[in-house]
């Protein structure tokens, strides 16, 4: 075993990349949950985004178009969830599970011709001399554009929720849908838009895995990242900056266990690979005491009959 092969600076740079899929998906889900909807279909939307992004990027040769297609794919699938829960008033837990099962199947079907194909590479942003600065260069200025987009997204969601009218309405719908309805806000419309936003974010998170992290297509390649993102929203008490913190924590663990595998630590690979999931459980246990931050109407069905 040789731990010196793990370079802490490169580890930090890599963990930012490992965290991005979780960050994108969790930020989207945070908006959905702040609007009072619990969408358990994140995993399904991510995997569909992964294949949509991959396929379009391969066909057009442009990773950026791939990401846009992934967002569109995720949003389209989430529209099915919106249809079930907002129009057909179905149970949100069951509908979310259905979305995940359906998304896994559909992605496998769409991805048949893409196994073993290499996607076009997304180039890193060129920061010129900034990249050559020791320590800060590799950490801050050596990434692809989507990673920075993820960080901007967190800031934008935070600012929107905190300072704007749109954010206020969204939170009102999530805290008490009956009161929001009485005030004249279109609860169903607002929630549908929030769900689609969440779907688009999850789709991009999935595409980040298939286009940048791996980059390859294999069935079920998201391997529970969507579920970790869901756990992360709870862990973050529905606050955007804490989502960022949590995503980096999980990114760090994922990357560290990969590096430890590479360094040939005496722990078997399978037990290292378990660690992100076990740590998710541990974190959930530690932080589940504080449920007061949950949106008041989370997971409840809204029907404007009265």
């Amino acid at each position: 075993m040789d731990l010196s092969v793990i370079n802490p600076i490169l580890l930090i740079a890599a963990l930012m990349s490992a965290a991005t899929p979780i960050l994108l998906a969790a930020t989207g889900e945070l908006v959905v949950e702040r609007a009072g909807v619990l969408n358990l279909g994140v995993e399904g939307m991510m995997i569909l985004g992964a294949i949509c992004g991959f396929a379009i990027a391969v066909e057009t040769g442009s990773p950026l178009t791939g990401f846009l297609a992934a967002a569109a794919g995720g949003a389209l699938l989430s529209l099915l969830f919106a249809l079930l829960t907002q129009v057909a008033l179905a149970n949100q837990v069951a509908s979310g599970l259905a979305l995940t099962l359906f998304g896994l199947g559909l992605s496998a079907l769409l991805g048949q011709g893409y196994v073993g194909v290499k996607p076009p590479r997304m180039p890193d942003i060129n920061f010129g001399f900034l990249t050559d600065i020791p320590i800060t260069g590799p950490i801050l200025f050596s990434h692809d554009p989507v990673l920075y987009f993820g960080l901007l997204l967190v800031a934008a969601v935070w600012a929107t929720l905190k300072f704007t009218r749109v954010g206020l309405i969204l939170r009102a719908v999530g805290e008490n849908h009956d009161a929001a309805h009485a005030l004249g806000y279109k609860v169903v419309r607002i929630r549908t838009l929030a769900i689609m936003f969440g779907g688009a974010c999850a789709g991009m998170g999935g595409a980040y895995i298939s286009l940048i992290r791996v980059p390859q297509w294999t069935e079920g390649m998201t391997a529970g990242v969507g579920w970790i993102a869901l756990a992360l929203v709870v862990f973050a008490s529905w606050k955007p900056w804490r989502v960022l913190l949590g995503a980096y924590l999980f990114g760090g663990i994922t990357q560290l266990q990969l590096n430890l595998q590479g360094a040939g630590v005496a722990i078997p690979v399978e037990y290292l690979a378990m660690s992100p999931y076990i740590i998710t459980i541990v974190v959930l246990v530690i932080l589940s005491a504080d449920k007061s931050a949950a949106p008041g109407s989370l997971g409840r069905t809204f029907h404007a009959s009265h």
């Binding site: 057909a88 099962l101 199947g105 559909l106 496998a108 709870v234 378990m274 076990i278 459980i281």
Partner: protein, 360 residues
């Protein structure tokens, strides 16, 4: 203008009819999907749903119905108890794997001794494996209020890694020429979950599934605990007043579903699958969620739904070899079924009204 009016009582008529409507809608849209894949839709549907039951080789496929249906029913019965009470165990796949590992481990520990006691010991170990794996989310929920959906699901991935580790390490066949996977339990008489009547598909897992169905039916219809399950799901506050202990109910529901999933895993690994290998699990734990909902969380409904779902697996295999229909198409088909069921359930709880809503 069309609007929805909540029914004072869920419609019994629609509660029975929606699963059938959902199946019909899935036939229709599944047919469109198959057509989009360039296959003849009618022929595909016939191949999947008619061939295994009444086709030329039905004598071979009919026993498969029991073999594939039994684990689905066994798992779904357990899940339905929790789902009824609003306790969401969606990690049955993990409990299934752990049951198989514990059970197979118990059997292999005795290899090559022969005794009639080995198989019962394996059954107990399998049930224990599933139970203990489900107890993790249960105890965490009771003690710390952790979300059981997320914990049970995370444990699926942990179990999958554990399975990989076991089939490459501790349980690996020492005479297997270095290939991953355990000894074949089908060749170890004391541990083999053989068919009770040869060629019928009837193995001990099928018997266990039938017992579970009867047990669940009696529990829900006649027993106080079943009443507690139903009332907690329908009105949690009323359940408190009725003296239901929520913690005990969580432990019971998750424990039972884990145990049944563990049993399903053991019967599979000791019978049809034969050995512990990296990918011996084929997602029964997730498909059972669809079975539970399609069966209206009712024991009898679950049997019918389980058989239908088993049919899609068998027919899917036939369609794959005869028509070249991709395996994933069947997965989409199963997912679609759950979608339509959830959507059509609207009519169970709501009534469509035409004309203007009157303001009171």
């Amino acid at each position: 203008m069309i609007w929805l009016e909540k029914r004072p009582q869920p419609s019994r008529f629609f509660a029975y009819v929606t699963p059938l409507l959902a199946v019909l809608a899935t036939f229709l849209f599944g047919g469109l999907l198959f057509a989009a894949l360039g296959k003849d839709p009618v022929q595909s549907i016939v191949t999947i749903f008619w061939e295994p039951l009444f086709g030329e080789f039905a004598f071979y496929y009919r026993p498969q119905l029991l073999i594939k249906g039994a684990p689905l029913v066994l798992i779904a019965i357990g899940l339905s108890l929790g789902f009824k009470a609003g306790i969401w165990n969606i990690g049955a796949e993990g409990q299934y794997i752990m049951g198989a590992l514990f059970g197979a481990g118990m059997g292999l520990a005795f290899y090559p001794a022969e005794s009639v006691l080995i198989f019962p010991a394996m059954v107990l170990a399998g049930a224990f494996g599933g139970w203990i794996w489900a107890m993790i989310p249960a105890l965490l929920k009771v003690r710390f209020g952790t979300n059981e959906i997320l914990v049970s699901l995370m444990l699926v991935y942990v179990a999958e890694q554990f399975l990989a580790s076991m089939s490459l390490g501790l349980l690996k066949n020492p005479e297997g020429f270095g290939f991953p996977g355990s000894r074949n339990l089908q060749q170890y008489d004391s541990a083999h979950n053989a068919e009770i009547i040869a060629g019928s598909g009837m193995h001990w897992g099928v018997v266990a599934a039938l017992i579970a169905v009867i047990f669940a039916y009696v529990l829900l219809a006649r027993h106080r605990l079943g009443f507690a399950v139903r009332v907690t799901g329908e009105a949690p506050r009323a359940a408190r007043f009725a003296g239901v202990n929520p913690s005990r109910l969580i432990l019971f529901c998750l424990g039972t579903s884990g145990m049944l999933a563990g049993l399903a895993g053991l019967f599979e690994v000791a019978g049809p699958a034969g050995q512990v290998s990296i990918d011996f699990n084929v997602g029964y734990g997730f498909t059972a969620i669809i079975v539970a909902f399609l069966g209206r969380l009712h024991p009898v409904g679950i049997v019918l739904a389980g058989l239908l779902m088993a049919l899609t697996y068998i027919g899917g295999d036939i369609a794959q070899s005869q028509l070249g229909l991709p395996a994933a198409a069947i997965q989409v088909f199963q997912g679609m079924l759950l979608f339509f069921l959830l959507a059509l359930d609207l009519f169970t709880n709501y009534r469509l009204r035409f004309g203007r809503a009157e303001t009171v």
